[in-house]
Symmetry: C2
Subunit: 502 residues, 2 copies
């Protein structure tokens, strides 16, 4: 065996253990009995420390040096796989195995505590585990090396290269643009009714429609499936086993349908990654931001467009005639794009969504910097909601307990959602140039060229390119909020049927 083949074996072991860990995580969220949580925490912790061991062992270190000395003998994909591994290896070597084990163990227990806290709408049930999580993440941030802001090292794990310094002006311009747009449409709020969304819809039929739609979009059910969980997610164990989950609310048509389209966007990304990268660190999405650009592309750019519902609305009417038979596709399009401040991130509209993200970003950034305390999170959450969206959650379940992310230690993750929106708008801008009749295709219920474009431009390279390399290659310029503000501005004025002022 060459050094590269030996290193590949290490990468395969790490990838297989990662997949096993993901399967255990999926099971925990879908089917695991309530009484099994501490055993599961042990199993996840053991796998996590084994991954860490294989990433950082002396043998791996030696192999990395040997392979780096022989880089010229490798193919282009092999070189990219090695570069990706080396980056992970360097990160991993900075963290002691004890910390990694404790983080994994804490994550399993914290997720359980979060579930119970959310069910009881009582932050105090989650508080000790969140405190422990924040302490561990602060420790991790410090160990990862010097940075201009301690949060940068956590952000970097989700969006390599991104910093507080870079993100701040983008988010600031985005906030200003959002507020301006909200003011523009404020007076027209009464013009859009979304009452259709809150009629009663059979749970089974909702799921059936959502499954049918994601199949037409291109999600491959021969290597994927759909289950139910408290919070929707997508996970995968290699590109040939992609699991989506959703939740169904009988009196809210959006939750299951748009939730599943969103997760299917993640799923189709994983299903499209080049086979050459399987069982290597490059065989994943490029970053959380790029991942979100895929889920949000399908959820918002496609499935919240009027073109889409010109095709899909008759399908919906067939399944739910009583609830929908007095509406036109345009009525429905306007209903699902009602833009007004609300409490829930997942179910908020495209425009106000980013304000939810900015609230979370500021809280987690300040927790990591030690500027605020965990005990104060509910109060600060509610204050920030009041200030930026003008609404206050009536309880913790609808407030700071609504999202799973902090419970699994995903601090630094939230900005990805907004990055995803910005990238998706940039991709849409470019796609319209590459596929001039793309809107006609959507109106005809044809999504194959769209998926093919995403596959060849974004999916196939997996994590072998960095997010900024992908964005530059595909869109011809670096991250910007401009395309998103243009896109959402056009939509806001169209939905509210007002002339564009700004």
């Amino acid at each position: 065996m060459t050094s590269y083949q030996k290193l590949l074996r290490v990468m395969n072991t790490v990838a297989d253990l990662g997949a096993a860990s993901a399967i255990l995580g999926w099971d925990q969220e879908t089917y695991m009995p309530d009484g099994s949580v501490s055993g599961r925490a042990n199993q996840l912790s053991t796998i996590s420390s084994l991954i860490h061991h294989h990433m950082t062992s002396d043998e791996t270190k030696q192999l990395v040096s040997q392979v780096q000395a022989e880089l010229s003998t490798l193919s282009e994909p092999e070189k990219r796989i090695v570069a990706t591994f080396v980056r992970d290896h360097e990160q991993a070597t900075k963290l002691p195995v004890e910390l990694v084990e404790e983080m994994s163990h804490t994550a399993a227990l914290a997720q359980d505590a979060w579930k119970r806290a959310r069910a009881a709408s009582d932050f105090s049930i989650f508080e000790p585990m969140l405190k422990k999580t924040v302490d561990l993440k602060r420790c991790e941030a410090e160990l990862l090396g010097p940075a201009s802001h301690p949060y940068d090292n956590l952000l970097d794990q989700y969006e390599p290269g991104l910093t507080v310094e870079v993100i701040t002006p983008v988010f600031e311009r985005l906030r200003k643009g959002t507020v301006a747009l909200l003011e523009n449409i404020h007076e027209a709020q009464g013009k859009v009714s979304d009452a259709v969304l809150y009629k009663s819809y059979s749970r089974d039929t909702q799921l059936e429609v959502a499954r049918q739609i994601i199949q037409v979009l291109g999600f491959d059910f021969s290597t994927g499936r759909v289950d139910l969980s408290a919070h929707p997610f997508c996970t995968n164990f290699g590109k040939h086993d992609v699991r989506l989950t959703t939740r169904i609310r009988e009196q809210d048509l959006r939750s299951c349908l748009f939730g599943l389209i969103h997760e299917a966007g993640h799923g189709m990304y994983e299903q499209g990654i080049g086979s050459v990268y399987e069982r290597t660190p490059a065989g994943q999405g490029a970053s959380m931001g790029i991942h979100e650009s895929q889920s949000l592309f399908w959820e918002n750019v496609i499935a919240r467009s009027e073109d889409f519902w010109m095709w899909a609305f008759p399908l919906l009417q067939k399944k739910f005639p009583e609830q929908t038979n007095t509406l036109t596709p345009r009525d429905f399009y306007r209903a699902i794009n009602k833009m007004q401040p609300s409490l829930n991130r997942v179910e908020s509209d495209e425009l106000t969504y980013n304000l939810h993200i900015i609230v979370r970003f500021e809280i987690e950034r300040d927790l990591i910097a030690g500027v605020i305390e965990v005990a104060d999170v509910p109060r600060i959450w509610n204050e920030k909601m009041q200030t930026s969206l003008g609404v206050v959650p009536p309880n913790d379940a609808e407030g700071c307990l609504q999202d799973v992310h902090w419970s699994f230690g995903g601090i630094g993750y939230f900005p990805s959602y907004t990055l995803g929106k910005l990238y998706a708008a940039m991709e849409w801008n470019r796609m319209q140039q590459d596929i001039p009749d793309v809107r006609d295709q959507i109106r005809a219920g044809r999504f194959d060229s769209i998926l093919a474009w995403l596959r060849s431009n974004i999916h196939v390279v997996g994590r072998s390119e960095t997010p900024s390399e992908i964005v530059m290659r595909v869109c011809g310029r670096p991250l910007t909020e401009e395309d998103f503000l243009t896109y959402v501005g056009i939509k806001a004025h169209d939905v509210y049927e007002i002339a564009k002022i700004c």
Copy 2:
């Protein structure tokens, strides 16, 4: 850390990896998409080779020596844990990691091939993978060291200490006794009707009844659950996460009900193992034979008794009044105990069941000895079925493809079922002495003393005692077929309402 604590850490890692592997196996049989099999094979193979590595590494070898030198400092349970680990360690060191990986990888692929072969009722789809499995098991048997019969080393993995030499006379006397009993009841065959079992029963209600019954028997749903799969099984990931599966046939009431009671018997065993043995090699059932003694105890001794149906039949009548309202509990008891040769092992009666096992035992013993070829399995299977049971399968799905065992490499497993029957009868004999009113309790639907007796006599020691130690301690004598033949003889004469001759 002491040497024991270090070794315990190794044992915990091995136990957690074993649990992860079991979760992946459970998922493969219940929810995994069809197109995901090769990725799953890689994951299972990686975990399997990691387990092997941790069992056999130089570090582990050193720790074993150190701990053995310090045995006197350990508590009694710790000593037993070490002894169990040492036995596994010695077995594992005899097998090279490449073989272990290949066996695991082959098992995942072979299970997929078996599923497809069974669906198509075409042995040739499974044949190449079975051939590879047999070759690997022959290699394994040879590597495990000298034995008077190569099959002994495989048998030993399921029932430590048992050999072809010991099993043969027991099986021979059992066969003779069985044939004699079958002759006794032959003329009375027309006296028992089992038509009630093959009426139409709603699938959902069948599952509901079966779940209700196993809950009353004592299966703990807070740390366990039930799903559907092609072949029923029980698996567990520690004592706090026990998964049962069953299958449901609309026109065969036995499949779901008795299948699930059987698997719940396995499940309650795992749920009852002493916490002191958790995450160690002693934290499992003592052997497959003892495991089967638990599942068969509940399935047959309890749930196929007239006492049981005096309690349970009204429950069944409530759910299925149309199908059952003309029958008495005794009619139903006789129906479920109809004893006559049939094609299917899982659904065969208590008396002829062992003849199915002897067919499989002889075939796998001869495959391992190289006396017969894999290609001839369907022919030999059919011939043996004709000779010993007087029936011939119309196709491979109902013949040699009916059981999952060979597909996962479980050669040496089948005798466990008959050993389980023999042990269960010995336990029942003893339990009747210890709990004189046990039959009254069953008639009253009370199973707590029965479960408590099994817990304290058998479950709690886990694998810290050998099967023969357990049997001697609980029943006061070694393995015998006598108690079973007495038990089944009484039942046969009762069901067929004929005077006992022998």
